[in-house]
Subunit: 310 residues, 2 copies
Amino acid sequence: MHAARLLALDWGTSSLRAHLLGEGGALLAERQQPWGIMHLPEGGFDAALHGIAGDWLSPGLPIIASGMVGSAQGWREAPYVDLPAGADTLAQSLTAFDVGDGLKLHIVPGVRHARPDVMRGEETQCIGALALMPALAPSSTLLLPGTHCKWLRVEAGRIADFQTFMTGELYALLAEHSILGRPARAAFRLGDVAAPEAFDRGVAAVRAQGAGGASELLFTTRALVLAGRLNAADSLEYLSGLLVGEELRCALGTVDVRAAPLALIGDAALCQRYRRALALWQVLDVPAVEAAAPVGLWSIATRANLVTAR
Amino acid sequence: MHAARLLALDWGTSSLRAHLLGEGGALLAERQQPWGIMHLPEGGFDAALHGIAGDWLSPGLPIIASGMVGSAQGWREAPYVDLPAGADTLAQSLTAFDVGDGLKLHIVPGVRHARPDVMRGEETQCIGALALMPALAPSSTLLLPGTHCKWLRVEAGRIADFQTFMTGELYALLAEHSILGRPARAAFRLGDVAAPEAFDRGVAAVRAQGAGGASELLFTTRALVLAGRLNAADSLEYLSGLLVGEELRCALGTVDVRAAPLALIGDAALCQRYRRALALWQVLDVPAVEAAAPVGLWSIATRANLVTAR
């Protein structure tokens, strides 16, 4: 059995992922629970930590966490750092506190933008992605799809700029609660692209729409079904296409993916959905990185001297 | 007591309004119930009709209705008519059927656009507004704010073009269910503009944003509150400003309100909200029309010879 060197927690709003890392950041074991900060078990943060990793804990094992656990609603608020932010910036600004039994938890700060904009967790995934794909470090654009999609611009190994799109949350709201979701609601959950033609059609419609974008097209999700020109069962794929298309319309209007090549970070099915949409914008061969969070947490922990890099 | 000449029903998804009209279309009485087609009382459409107007009904009294009552989920489907559509077009395409006791119900058709787009009810309000303000008939733009906002272009007294924006439904979804609504959700209901500075700030932000529009700004509703730059209690007014601003950004990008002057139709508080936003676009002195539906129903009924115009 390899010796455990670091307990790395990716602790968001809706889930908690624990990674036990050994020498050199090697993944020894990992577990997941639905114990996001808004869905804690009885006993709160402390119970969640011991519930997911109690048998891994030993005095002196450093613990590091990123995500909403550092928000005002989290275990302890970890103040935001400003741009530009690299692994060193994050490592110098950890919020550390004792959690009992000789254990110390170190929370990675979120990053804020003067626009204003904020993120918590994505900064750590970014650091992980740069460690996994060093070619991205000099200059790149990182796209992290999800409830609140983030576009990060990396310059000289640091996060230089970022922007949030609420694409995932808008999709969930419209699919679950709006008139647009009604025809297909019972049957449909977003995952792999189940109806590629309908998805592509939504993306292409936004691309062809000009400056107005998806605002002028949302209601066509209903009107096309009423007109018999879109299968009810496929209509949520069309809607997903409109929303992902709108995000690309806006982001690619200001981002030069030739100067700063694009990479995707996140869930494989969601990345594949974005890759499909990007292809309609002639942005091709975009690499994707999964499981970047534990790598980022290891990288930050080494810079903070919680562990040694070797 | 004046003799009743027409029972005019404005029958939508969430409410039923009954207007008893006399000689020349004079309003004799009106009632409202929350019996929209998705919220019918026990006994369905028939019970709703007798519940709201049973004591008004007498054999031979013509009944006319507009709105979602003519949809596939309504009492009887009234097929759409195509553009351009004026009062004569609508009057020639009524769907009539017996509802018992010597009574006949005539449903005004909805209108469809090849884009595709559809409406049911707004066409009748448009006909009413043209009767109330004849100066709008040659060439005008009618804006009907609501759950699904409609922009109608009128040429030579007929509806020549229209477009739907889901502004009202998006606002309700984001305020009630999204992370953006959380700080102010308990306290806030959209009505009169309660925090004009926050509303104007949202509109102005979209106007200043350029082609990206509200998609790039939605998350600032949260980020501004987190940064202490927007009161949580005012944040839904800011969000409303973003969404109304997005509608204006798109619509005013294609509509020339000098060539086809703008008028508002609908609820007074909602029209005032739009008037405020339009002023930030330098579109000033926009007239507003309330209670256009019964006037439109009378106008269509006279053209269909259900009643005589005198």
